[in-house]
């Protein structure tokens, strides 16, 4: 379990990093926190020609807020984001989901950008980005900057729209307002494991009706999955008219779970339906009680 030979570069700026990526012609791999990549290198499942260490890029870390959104720089350590007091208020479900990523120790190294751009379908951060309607800020030397909506970013397991010469520099999370309820539930065999079934999102309520809903599954298909039908059914519906089980049926209809030796697809669907109905019901009840 030793990596195959590779060249190593540690650019100091985004521009330098983009230069390396552009010149490498697809032979470069980015090293951020390394919590996924290092084992893959050791297993020789990843054998890049050039390892581009982005840990020393200036200004690659940090969190900033505007009235509309929160910008999390890609290199921000998970532990730092989790400890950020302002973040807890501005993006409560992000914070909740992040507390389930890996373990205390791995979060000291792992980055938000790494987790979002890796595209593990059972991971919390990609689904959170999809649920909240986040945008992913991407740079390349030759084509400049673009922003991609999270629900258009993921193509399949570990596959995204990122081109080989592109670098994710930040993730922009819209602010949902303090009144929006949080929805989060993860079913994993051990704390820190990838989810067998996971659900994340927020629901905003105005005048007793659902004004906005952003809900996504993880561990329920080849990518994080936006529960579009459920969202549409919720929006505009009065709280008193919501049937969580009915909504859960719609949410499950969008999933495409698989069977592995940890759980069957049937298990994932069955438990998904239940946790969706239970979690949504609880979240909305809490809101009703508070109102």
């Amino acid at each position: 379990m030793k990596p195959a030979p590779f060249d190593y570069v540690a650019p100091g700026t985004v521009a330098e990093a983009l230069d390396v990526l552009a010149e490498a012609g697809g032979g470069a791999t980015l090293l951020a926190g390394g919590q996924t990549l290092m084992p893959l290198l050791a297993l020789r499942m990843s054998q890049p020609f050039i390892l581009v260490d982005v840990n020393r890029i200036e200004g690659f870390r940090g969190i900033s807020h505007t009235a509309e959104s929160t910008r999390v720089a890609a290199g921000t350590r998970q532990a730092v984001a989790l400890a950020d007091a302002e973040m807890k208020g501005a993006q409560p479900v992000f914070n909740l989901a992040l507390s389930h990523v890996g373990h205390y120790q791995t979060r000291n190294r792992g980055t938000i950008g790494g987790s979002v751009s890796l595209g593990e379908p059972a991971a919390e951060m990609p689904a959170t980005a999809v649920a909240l309607g986040a945008e992913i800020e991407i740079h390349s030397r030759d084509r400049g900057t673009r922003r991609v909506k999270a629900d258009e970013f993921y193509l399949g397991p570990y596959m995204t729209v990122l081109e080989p010469d592109e670098l994710v520099t930040a993730i922009h999370y819209p602010r949902w307002g303090a009144d929006a309820v949080t929805v989060f539930r993860e079913v994993a065999q051990r704390p820190g494991d990838f989810a067998l079934v996971g659900l994340v999102g927020r629901v905003a309520i105005e005048g007793g009706k659902i004004a906005r809903a952003g809900l996504a599954w993880f561990g329920m298909g080849p990518t994080p999955i936006k529960a579009r039908q459920a969202e549409q059914a919720l929006i505009g519906t009065a709280l008193s008219d919501i049937d969580p089980r009915g909504i859960a049926e719609l949410a499950i209809a969008d999933t495409d779970p698989f069977t592995d030796h940890h759980a069957t697809a049937h298990y994932r669907r069955t438990v998904g339906r239940r946790i969706f109905a239970r979690t949504l019901g609880e979240a909305l009840n809490i809101q009703q009680a508070a109102a």
């Binding site: 379990m1 195959a4 297993l43 020789r44 051990r190 704390p191 990838f194 069957t264």
Partner: protein, 1029 residues
């Protein structure tokens, strides 16, 4: 409780204290020395090219590109390594059953089978080169599961079938008869998944040859002494001085009992290159190419009487031993140890091990643990079926102190402990009735709570019963500095023996704990011993420490007595000070006495050896029993199938406790493994034999958050050995799985009988709760509350068929002679009375008269009677009457059959005569046939396991009676039996290696004989022989 004998005399009692572990300082600060920490100048590194397929022929191997990579020193195939031939030995120090080498030759037989070994300047280059090896295969369909092994192609061309070993009795009619007598017959099938031992420190070796005379091997292992012996045998290096070192070992759990293929390959490479070579197994190799454990199936049937008392039990066991198991073992221990805590008059079994195209089987903490899972899961199922409280069901059958000494049907003596008391102590702390109320209340709210209970007894401290299981050695000395040094054959893989042995020694000698240093982990210290294996170090190492300390103390007393002109008995040692009773002013430090003992020999008694040294190799009784009873409470979320452990109590009897923290650590570690086995862990292969759990992401070990705080109840009764210690290393891993499984099954009992198929994943639980049996293994769960078909007990006689025979030909008094398989004949008078098909009567023997009742069918009489002397067994008579004579057998429990013959007293045909005494038949009489039998025969017996036995048999025949003698190296034994034509049958009892009855059944053809010897419950041996000239 007995007062423990032979324990410390020091002012400060150290046995029983939670002292700070001597190992913790270095281990907790990262200063431990594990194999991968060892670096030797000039050391080379290795990597293996491994088979990507489970089964196939090797067509070609191309290593040219690998060999030419800069930094590569050598590239070896199986052919290259043959320059140093290796005979892989089992743990019993006998050659393995199937031919094997360090590398695959001709065929590959599992995914991960090492084919090519690269030796290079570092591990990076070695792995690069391994990636350049090109091997062509002709792939074949693999044998992956036990089911595959039963019907698939043969894994090893040298064996007739995939059966690696079989023991026990197939289609044992006697057991079936006993099982049929129960009011309830309960059947339970257990499917245990394959487990990866997963020690934190993977396997590894640094082999450092120093010329042709000396080999230094650093290897992570359980006993450096045992490994040194193994290497000498396996590598055929009788002339080489082999020193094996293992300072710290990060867990083993049975895996590292002795080296296996890769370690041996690295050692051979070092010898071929005359350079130090290191191999460190990486986690990928550890999870996919290392030997593994468990993967067993077992169906157990137990017959209970209407009150829940066990009448008989039978177990049918199979294990997947993989391709190259560390011994082709069918795990007879499962059957030996299944019924030690409970009374089972008639146990039986059939047990098989199977070869497959998967990594080989190695030991894992409690290798026979399946017995507890099968038994305890069956008890709870039986309790539900019979509607008996599971507590009561166990109590009815647990062996109680008042019954001691007790001998199990398998011959295990239970004489110094009480499993029933251990169980009772558990229930003094845990209120079952209160829990049942909570459970009922919770169910009303849709919450599913469950209680699991288990009890067990295991043999620990194995010694003297198998050649490698020797005593353990303690070599002690008081240094001239006054400090105490111990050189021990014990070895810690986390056991903390440097602490516990120091406690025992300090306690015994009367010196401060801090003054004792224990050295182990080096074969050049101490002497041969198997070290850690089978929960034995507290018993053997502790005993050796006490005995050696006593010897050393005697010497100190003798020296001090001489120096101060005192009586040796008046000399005591307290806290490192040597004192003379009644003369405080004479008190001297041990250092002062030691300085004299070493440096001023003229001040010692005449002729006394200078120095203060002593050693003792302690050999306790062959086994020391440990018992425990556990209770676990869980809540199962039936919406998600998740299990939450709410409480876990352990009541354990490990005798005298040296250090409660160490004992609790051992129990907790075993329970963590139990939780992993029941809920999480599984080595899984797809149908092509590819492992699907290659990392710790997929092979799920329990994490700290999955393991609750355990509550310990020390229910200790000192053992009858030096120190009173019992082994405790494996108990948690043995009793844990049934405890947790039973709790889950109890919680889910409203849904039916949860199949015992591990791991019980959330997915499986949901399938079960929702009645989807298509994905659940084992038998489909029955509808809740519906008992399995149980049949009512038939009272003896109830099934009798009325006979038309003449009662008068039976009724009356008979002179009866019974010849047991061993021992003298018994003369009795029987009185029979018949009425219809019912027989009543009495047997009058010199010891007393006993009544019986049974059946008569025609001229056949059957009855049963219990006797208590010489042991409690049931005798089953089956006699046939012909005129004025009777003949037949009396079955003596599991100990074989006695021949019974008799004559009517005052009968018309003949007057009673004593049975003819066995006398050597004159050779002349042999002309009619027996002559072809009488005389001496050279006989070879081949048991299912172990070496062949060569014996000389002497036969004498007289009519249908056979008498004779078997002469083996261990001794000669007389026997008597029957001869019918050319067929000889006799039974004889042996006591070594265990008390069993051998039933010989031989046929003579000319000058050769052949046949079998049934070895009690352990299967049959093949017997062959030729007439001795």
């Amino acid at each position: 409780m007995n007062a423990p004998t032979g324990l410390g005399t020091g002012a400060q009692r150290l046995i029983g204290k939670r002292v700070t572990r001597k190992e913790d300082g270095r281990l907790l600060t990262g200063k431990g020395t594990f194999v991968d920490d060892v670096a030797v100048p000039g050391m080379l590194h290795t990597a293996f090219y491994r088979s990507p397929i489970a089964r196939g022929k090797i067509l070609s191997i191309d290593v040219e590109e690998a060999r030419s990579l800069p930094g590569v020193v050598a590239v070896y195939t199986a052919e290259d390594l043959k320059k140093r031939p290796v005979v892989f030995h089992t743990f019993y120090m006998t050659p393995g059953e199937v031919p094997m080498g360090p590398l695959a030759e001709g065929d590959v037989r599992y995914v991960g089978d090492p084919v090519v070994m690269i030796v290079a300047k570092d591990r990076y280059v070695a792995e690069d080169a391994a990636g350049l090896v090109v091997v062509e295969y002709d792939e074949e369909d693999p044998v992956v599961t036990i089911a595959d092994a039963r019907k698939g192609a043969v894994v090893h061309p040298t064996t007739e079938s995939n059966v690696a070993q079989v023991m026990g009795i197939e289609d044992d009619e006697d057991i079936e008869e006993e099982l049929a007598k129960g009011a309830h017959l309960v059947t339970s099938t257990v499917i245990h998944q394959r487990i990866a031992q997963s020690p934190m420190e993977t396997r590894g070796v640094v082999s450092d040859p120093r010329g042709e005379e000396e080999l230094v091997v650093h290897i992570t292992c359980q006993s450096p002494q045992l490994v040194a012996r193994w290497l000498s045998l396996a590598l055929g290096l009788p002339d080489m001085s082999i020193r094996v070192l293992a300072k710290d070992v990060g867990g083993s759990f049975g895996l590292k009992n002795h080296p296996w293929r890769e370690e041996v390959a690295a050692i051979v490479a070092s010898l071929l290159l005359s350079r130090p070579v290191k191999w460190t197994e990486d986690r990928l190799e550890a999870l996919t190419a290392c030997n593994q454990a468990r993967e067993q199936e077992m169906t157990t049937r137990v017959a209970f009487d209407k009150d829940g008392k066990i009448l008989a039990a039978h177990a049918d066991y199979s294990s997947n031993n993989g391709c190259y198991p560390q011994g082709a073992d069918a795990n007879v221990a499962v059957h030996m140890f299944m019924w030690v805590a409970y009374r089972v008059p008639v146990p039986g079994f059939i047990t098989r091990a199977w070869y497959s195209n998967t990594p080989g089987l190695a030991a894992y903490r409690g290798p026979w643990a399946m017995e507890s899972l099968a038994r305890e899961a069956l008890f709870d199922k039986a309790a539900r079926q019979m509607k008996i409280d599971p507590v009561d069901l166990r109590r009815k059958n647990l062996i109680r102190r008042s019954e001691l000494p007790y001998s199990t049907a398998a011959g295990i003596p239970v004489d110094d402990m009480s499993p029933a008391e251990c169980f009772d102590k558990l229930l003094e702390t845990f209120d079952v009735a209160k829990f049942r109320r909570e459970q009922a209340e919770a169910r009303k709210q849709g919450r599913y709570l469950g209680l699991g209970l288990s009890a067990y007894v295991e043999p620990t401290g194995s010694a003297g019963s198998m050649a490698p299981m020797t005593g353990e050695l303690a070599q002690l000395r008081v240094e001239p500095t006054g400090k105490v040094t111990a050189m021990m054959s014990t070895h810690s893989q986390g056991h903390g023996t440097q602490t516990t042995m120091a406690q025992v020694i300090a306690d015994q000698l009367g010196v401060p704990y801090e003054d004792v240093t224990v050295f182990e982990g080096d074969s050049s210290r101490g002497g041969f011993a198997p070290g850690a294996a089978g929960s034995r170090q507290a018993v053997l190492g502790g005993g050796a420490s006490i005995k050696a300390s006593k010897l050393l103390k005697e010497k100190i007393q003798a020296v001090a007595a001489h120096l101060y002109n005192a009586n040796p008995e008046s000399v005591s040692i307290e806290n490192g000070m040597v004192k003379i009773a009644g003369a405080e002013e004479m008190t001297r430090s041990l250092k002062e006495v030691a300085e004299i003992a070493y440096g001023e020999p003229m001040r010692l008694p005449q002729g006394m050896e200078s120095g203060l040294e002593a050693q003792y190799r302690y050999l306790p009784p062959p086994m020391t029993l440990t018992s425990a009873a556990h209770a676990c409470v869980v809540e199962v979320d039936v919406d998600t199938g998740f299990v939450k452990i709410l409480r876990w109590l352990c009541s354990e009897d490990c005798g005298m406790v040296i250090n409660p923290a160490v004992v609790e650590g051992q129990v907790a570690g075993g329970l963590a493994q139990a939780i992993g086995q029941v809920l999480l862990e599984e080595v899984h292969y797809d149908e092509r034999g590819n492992p699907t759990a290659a990392t710790f992401k997929d092979y799920m070990l329990p994490a700290i958050t999955d393991v609750p705080d355990f509550e310990y109840i020390h229910s200790n009764i000192p053992a009858n050995n030096e120190g009173g210690f019992r082994g405790v290393g494996e108990g948690g891993a043995i009793v844990g799985p049934p405890t947790l499984f039973n709790a889950i099954a109890d919680a889910l009992s409203p849904f039916g009988e949860l199949p015992v198929s591990l791991p019980v994943t959330p997915s499986k639980i949901l399938d079960f709760v929702e009645g989807r049996s298509d994905e659940a293994e084992a038998t489909p769960p029955p509808v809740a509350g519906t008992p399995e078909p149980a049949f009512d007990a038939e009272a003896p006689g109830a099934s009798a068929v009325l006979s038309g025979a003449l009662p008068l030909s039976v009724d009356g008094e008979w002179q009866v002679t019974m010849q047991p398989p061993v021992g003298p004949k018994q003369e009795m008078v029987a009185t029979f009375r018949t009425e219809g098909g019912v027989l009543t009567g009495q047997l009058a023997a010199p010891e007393g008269t006993q009544e019986f009742s049974g059946t008569v069918e025609g001229n056949r009489l059957k009855w049963e009677m219990k006797v208590t002397q010489p042991m409690p067994i049931t005798l089953k008579y089956d006699l046939t009457i012909e005129g004025d004579t009777l003949a037949g057998t009396a079955k003596l429990g599991m100990f074989g059959k006695a021949k019974v013959s008799g004559e009517r007293i005052g009968g018309a045909a003949a007057a009673p005569t004593p049975a003819p005494a066995a006398a050597p038949a004159p050779v002349a009489e042999a002309a009619t046939g027996p002559a072809a039998i009488d005389g001496n025969w050279d006989v070879v017996m081949k048991p299912p396991v172990g070496p062949e036995q060569t014996m000389v048999a002497t036969f004498h025949t007289d009519g249908g009676t056979l008498t004779g003698k078997l002469d083996a190296p261990e001794g000669a034994q007389e026997f008597s039996g029957t001869v019918e034509g050319n067929r000889l049958k006799w039974e004889m009892k042996v006591t070594q290696p265990m008390p069993i009855t051998l039933k010989y059944d031989l046929t003579i053809e000319g000058d050769t004989l052949s046949g079998t010897a049934k070895l009690g419950m352990f299967g049959k041996a093949k017997v062959q022989g030729t007439r001795a000239g």
